[in-house]
């Protein structure tokens, strides 16, 4: 077989991984959380059952729902899958990775969020508008900080292409870099905010005044809800693997090393499992913070990212 096609095959494999592993990660986190709280869990496969149930169910649409409301789930889902094709998850040898760098990736996530917020406001319920405005507040504060955090890694690796960044960190000499440490802590805080986990948002709330993400999805049902839910699971998975690719890329298959793929899957599974443990450890310890404290939380993330960038110039 011609080795020219390997990158394309790997790309396809990776997209399939994103689609299938995201519900697994969500299930793993729910399972761990149940265990930690002394409840019996529904098993790691429960998100798949939820999704397939939602796909079978009928869709109920509000009378005044416009085309934005009906098309938003497809846009959100598509943008998230596209992001999944860009981030080096199992291999840095991705054809699509050359088309979009890290700035474009942040923009793709922004498109998904923009349509989600529009859809939240479209039907005109109070909860939808509230959730959309809060989501935009989080986004406007988290995005600059996210760019700062990612730019610090860019400065260290001298490129903005994700594949090259992962490759540079992987093959470079191991040195103590305070800038990367700051950028990593900032990235963790931002990932918590972006994926709507505790303490910024609680993913398992329905009809609470404090909810952000769920408030925008309240009017969705059936397959559209399934797509939205699946997209948000993928977002969690993608932010985890983006953090892995930027800060702990060891284990991701390099260029022209197809034999590394099984090892890459193994290391991905281990890293994701550890991330799940970390998320659950944070979530069972912390309470959700007040909405007015979120700007301060994100301001701290921005501060850390800036300190990371400054300490690159000052100390390295």
């Amino acid at each position: 077989m011609n080795s020219r096609y390997f990158p394309v095959l790997i790309e396809g494999l990776q997209v399939a991984t994103v689609l299938l592993a995201a519900p697994l990660l969500a299930g793993w986190i729910r399972m761990l959380r149940c265990r930690a709280q002394g409840r019996r869990s529904a098993g790691i496969l429960q998100p798949f059952r939820d999704l397939s149930k939602l796909f079978i169910k009928d869709t109920v649409l509000a009378d005044n729902a416009s085309w934005i409301f009906t098309s938003a789930p497809y846009v959100v889902f598509g943008a998230t899958v596209l992001a999944g094709a860009i981030i080096p998850i199992i291999s840095v040898d991705l054809p699509l990775s050359e088309t979009a760098d890290v700035i474009a990736l942040v923009a793709i996530f922004a498109i998904a969020r923009f349509f989600m917020a529009l859809a939240g406001m479209d039907v005109g319920t109070a909860f939808g508008g509230m959730g959309a405005s809060r989501e935009m507040m989080v986004a406007s504060l988290a995005e600059p900080a996210m760019l700062m955090s990612v730019f610090t890694v860019s400065l260290v690796s001298r490129t903005t292409s994700l594949s090259h960044m992962a490759h540079a960190v992987m093959t470079g000499p191991v040195v103590l870099r305070p800038s990367l440490a700051f950028a990593f802590v900032s990235f963790v805080l931002l990932a918590i905010a972006e994926t709507g986990r505790i303490p910024v948002d609680n993913p398992s709330t329905h009809l609470e005044l404090t909810m952000i993400h769920e408030a925008m999805l309240l009017e969705y049902s059936g397959r559209r809800l399934a797509l939205m839910e699946w997209a948000s699971m993928m977002k969690l998975f993608l932010f985890t693997s983006l953090g892995v690719a930027l800060f702990f890329p060891w284990g991701i298959a390099g260029r022209d090393t197809v034999s590394m793929i099984p090892l890459a899957f193994l290391s991905l599974a281990i890293k994701l499992a550890l991330t799940g443990v970390f998320i659950v450890a944070v979530e069972i310890r912390l309470a959700k913070m007040r909405v007015f404290r979120i700007p301060e939380f994100l301001g701290m993330a921005f501060l850390l990212a800036t300190l990371g960038m400054l300490s690159f110039f000052i100390l390295e």
Partner: protein, 222 residues
């Protein structure tokens, strides 16, 4: 330990000192402030020991131990006892709100980096790059003194400023002579006791530690 590794470790410690200065700026609780201050002293003492080891200057070990006993244990303990006696556990009151303070702090770091850039070019020491952090720590301590209303937080700002000066001395010239350092350490200790007496005086006179009250000393108020 090679010189390179020592410079790297020193860089990490400098970054942690800078982080703890920002921690002091954003922390709202009194006991939290004291913990961060103690951590800053701990990083400072470690950094002094690392510099002493690399440069082969053994009197820096004495300064490191001095920093450890004084700034990690003695001073936070004295302040802790003071806070308990004065019964102030409420949130820190600030003049400028915390996000703005953070942004001013970032600007100060950039400013001090710009200011120390020429010195960095001239110096040949392992620690030359940490000088900007030292200056930033001094400025951030000053910023903390300016933006806080209560006397205790201003004192912590002052002590953080002193930490910055000490760090500057280590990173610019491998530390001051031991006699000077002993003198400074004693001064700080005495200062902490005097601050304590002052806190009680201020509170018995004004029923509050808010230094805004001192403005009432003007004659027309009587």
């Amino acid at each position: 330990m090679t010189t390179n590794l020592a410079a790297e470790i020193n860089g990490v410690l400098a970054a942690l000192i800078l982080l703890s200065s920002f921690g002091l700026l954003v922390q709202r609780r009194m006991t939290g402030l004291l913990h961060i201050f103690a951590w800053q002293g701990f990083f400072l003492s470690l950094s002094t020991a690392v510099v002493g080891y690399t440069a082969g200057l053994h009197h820096l070990y004495i300064s490191a131990v001095l920093t450890l006993t004084l700034k990690v244990f003695a001073l936070p303990y004295i302040l802790y006892v003071l806070i308990h006696k004065l019964k102030i556990h409420r949130e820190v009151e600030e003049v400028v709100n915390i996000p703005t303070t953070m942004l001013i702090g970032i600007a100060l770091v950039i400013f001090s980096y710009h200011l120390t850039a020429p010195i960095r070019e001239l110096s040949t020491l392992v620690t030359r790059s940490t000088l900007a952090v030292a200056l930033a720590t001094v400025l951030l301590g000053l910023l903390m003194m300016i933006t806080r209303k209560k006397a205790v937080t201003q004192i912590i700002g002052f002590l953080a400023l002193e930490n910055g000066l000490f760090f500057a001395a280590t990173s610019a010239t491998y530390g001051m002579p031991l006699v000077v350092e002993l003198g400074v350490a004693l001064d700080i200790l005495i200062a902490a006791f005097i601050f304590g007496i002052f806190f009680f005086q201020i509170r018995t006179t004004f029923d509050s530690l808010d230094l805004k009250q001192l403005e009432k000393l003007k004659e027309e108020d009587f």
